[in-house]
Symmetry: C2
Subunit: 234 residues, 2 copies
């Protein structure tokens, strides 16, 4: 069950992929590296649940996590999938509130944890870091607002097409041109904001129209132009 891994250093992450800590001085990055804790998480592990108090922020070194809210009747609404280089959990730390989302590992992950006080210390010491965090929050806010508009105004068909294109851009494709994100039909439905059966029907419709190919959970986009058109992406 245990799987050894290299404990990553913040400065190394910053050379491979830019993290939110990029504007910290090397000393500050070393400070974080020495104080943070890292852990390996197996797929399916819940990192924290909506309503819980959390103790710090998380930064993903490897793997993918699912960030979701639980709505009426326990149905989950997926807010986003976060991948290497992404941070999460900062919202509740900053506002001093319990977590407003749950986080579950979608693909085996190595995740670092910086306790709240160290995070705050960096924010106070280095205003550039604060500005970067602010930009990050604003970017997420912009996406959330677009999502609200989409979900309120577009049909399920349009949203599914849009999300497929988005997932391809966000997670890339493997050697077979398949989107590199393993989702159950139910999860895809919870991301789109619809019923599982609707996603299934629409996917097979897309397949019949030659827009996508399906191999189990793996999805390949064939006709990007058409999907963009269906999704009303401009």
């Amino acid at each position: 069950m245990y799987k050894p891994f290299e404990e990553p250093l913040c400065k190394d992450c910053n050379t491979h992929f830019k993290t939110i800590f990029r504007k910290l001085s090397l000393e500050q990055q070393d400070f974080i590296s020495s104080r943070k804790s890292c852990a390996f998480y197996k797929k399916g592990t819940v990192i924290y649940k909506e309503g819980q108090r959390t103790s710090g922020i998380y930064c993903i070194n490897q793997g993918i996590v699912k960030i979701y809210k639980t709505g009426v009747e326990g149905k989950e609404q997926i807010i986003k999938f976060a991948k290497c280089g992404d941070v999460f959990g900062y919202r509740s730390i900053l506002n001093g509130e319990p977590a407003c989302t749950s986080v579950k590992v979608n693909e085996d992950a190595v995740i670092c944890h910086v306790i709240a006080s160290d995070f705050y210390a960096m924010l106070k010491e280095n205003s550039e870091f604060g500005i970067d965090m602010l930009q990050l929050a604003c970017a997420e806010l912009g996406e959330a607002n677009s999502y609200i508009t989409d979900i309120a105004q577009k049909s399920v068909r349009e949203r599914l097409a849009e999300i497929l294109v988005y997932l391809k851009d966000e997670f890339g494709v493997d050697d077979d041109k398949m989107i590199k994100l393993n989702l159950t039909r139910e999860e895809l439905a919870n991301l789109v904001g619809t019923a599982t059966e609707s996603v299934i029907r629409l996917l097979s419709e897309f397949k019949n129209d030659g827009l996508v190919e399906l191999k189990g959970r793996r999805i390949r986009l064939i006709n990007l132009d058409k999907l963009n058109k269906i999704g009303n992406i401009y």
Copy 2:
């Protein structure tokens, strides 16, 4: 057309209602006050439109503005109504992108404008201010995520009930207990994310059930408990 008004000082606003500038030193507040520009805006004025480049951030001294996105077929999706003490327009400044929302005056307003470079100067000088901005952005992000879940999972009926309660809390009531926010039925629909006719039908249903009273655009909530129950507010 011209209506004279007192040019407000940031430090005065901060004694009457807390603004985002509360953590600035008095010198910094005076700096902002001396450099900012203020204007009176009549109801209906568009402050900026989605896609435009903006030059700074806005802080509302008086009045109410509508912040919205334009979706497919020009239908507007209202993101929020901002009132005295609220800032807006910071997202595009921080991310260096064109505005992702439009802003229109809903109730005659006095609004101050701080140019981007002054805003940035404050962010760099005073990390406490940056943290406050970050908390603000995170609070909006939390609301946006809840909204996504609601709109994806709740029925129009539930959302309307929820939003009526929210508007009452947010904008208060006048002497007649009427919610202090003047909305057309279409705007209410664009806030809930539905068709105008649906809002009209549901409102008159709520009226027949003794949950609300309607006088033109003015709405009074009679049975808050029942509305909370309908809206699944916990």
